[in-house]
Amino acid sequence: MTKHFVYADNAATTPVSARVFEAMKPWLTEYYGNPSSLYRIGQQAKNAANHARTQVGRALNAAEPINEANDRKPGEIIFTGSGSQADNLAIRGFVEGPSNHGRKHIITSKIEHHAVLYTCEALEKEGWRVTYLDVDKLGRIDLAQLRAEISADTAIVSVMAANNEIGTIQDLRAISEIAHANGAVFHTDAVQAVGHMPIDVQAMGIDLLSLSAHKFRGPKGIGALYCRKGIVLKPSVFGGGQERGWASGTENVAGMVGLGTAIEDAVSSMDEKMSYVRRLTDRLTAGILKIPYTHFTGDPVHRLPGTASFVFEAIEGEGLILRLDACGICSSTGSACSTGSLDPSHVLMAIGLPHEIAHGSLRLTLGEQNTEQEVDYIIESVTKVVDGLRAMSPVWANGKPDLSAASNLRP
């Protein structure tokens, strides 16, 4: 067998680019000073961190000046250890912070990342009221339901920019308008979106935005929260007062430099890169959909350029992932068996897929480093693997699924 290796799980993480890696190195080995120290390599590190902050702010079109060399002037970019930490800081930090004037209601959606969902569930146990908005079969939130649920008691509306499993993009501008009309702030978990679609926090009316470097060729372990000027959050970590005192801890300077470089690269050539990625994804989707009893999940139009997600009837996702791995292909699934829980992913459930079908899900996410040859190899391998698994499936007979037999087992 020819040894292939195709990385098609770019929504899970991406490889650090050579330019990012080179930019980071000196801040680990040469200028390793603590930004809080007064001597030269400490101050150089502080300047590097602040330069990265400026790069992040510019990429999102945050208000200028994004950051002063004197960082006592509050900027809008808070570095965190991850996208999840940014989500936690945004939601809990806002509702428990001084900018929330006694409002006790939170609105989010059913397809959020667990960093948002579990934060909301924890707050619910602590007495907050939380509304989880439904989505349609394409994964778009119901704006009419948002209008109906929002009230003068709603503190924050948190809806992700683009979904990690199915790639559906939400109408951020419309959501923020509804939130603002009711005096609520708008947070978006843009971890999957930043670097893959244009984001303009001012034009889109975003008050709080979470992002993570490793989703766009930066390093792991560094994220950021955009927080509009004027909003004050309750700190998530107390300590030495770094990051406006909201996320204390000695700065991950190399990580910040990596994030700054990666976001600048991603945004500067976004149109070119993403139209290339989109072409690859369209080719992949067309090839995979030739497999019978296969369904595309998510919004075919309003979606991330690199995300293609499918469900195959009569097979189970974990087997699919392992067999594709044997072909050298990295991919992912929302099948329950991949996590050991009873239910398939909450996202696939929210878009209305029956359990039986949702177990056979496959997510392929492409990036700028993938090629057409790789896409063709993926199509060929997925076709072969699906055929192989169906051949041994008791719910597949005569070239079609036979799931009624399975449901007969139920009393």
């Binding site: 087997g319 068996c337 050991g340 029956p354 051949a391 008791p394 719910v395 799931l403 087992l409 139920r410």
Partner: protein
């Protein structure tokens, strides 16, 4: 979650996949909603030896590997010996399963017992007297733990 080399081997090259046209005992357990179904086909000789066995499985890597291993372990055995096969023995033969996947081995044991029960029923014997359970009640299909 990590699978042993043996699990990978049986998942990648499963033994005894397919159906038996002349099966005289067929058992199916699990359901598609939970994400795993196992179907086992037995060809039992007149003197109670499992001459041939095949399976079809809808499920994860561990479900396919345990089906493969369980069928290997009972091929050529008497029904009495086959009934002694425990899920733990199947898991052990695969050099262990991750804890969250142990239910797959339970499913393999149940599928086998269900096929044996079907064989006894077909030859006019009451499977409940032999197995202590008819293996066809909804309870058996529902109780495997996830």
């Amino acid at each position: 979650m990590e699978y042993s080399e043996k699990v990978f081997d049986h998942f990648t090259n499963p033994r005894n996949v397919g159906e038996l046209a002349d099966a005289n005992g067929v058992g199916e357990v699990g359901n598609a909603k939970c994400g795993d179904i196992m179907k086992i086909f037995l060809k039992v000789s007149d003197d109670g030896i499992i001459e041939d066995v095949k399976f079809k499985t809808f499920g994860c890597g561990a479900a396919i590997a345990t089906s493969s291993m369980a069928t290997e372990m009972v091929k050529g055995k008497s029904l009495e010996d086959a009934l002694k096969l425990t899920n733990q023995a199947v898991a052990d033969a695969l050099d262990g399963l991750p804890p969250v996947k142990m239910h797959c081995s339970v499913l393999a044991e149940e599928a086998l017992r269900s096929a044996i029960a079907d064989y006894y029923r077909r030859i006019g014997k009451d499977p409940e007297a032999i197995l202590g359970c008819s293996m066809d009640c909804a309870h058996c299909h529902e109780t495997h733990e996830h």
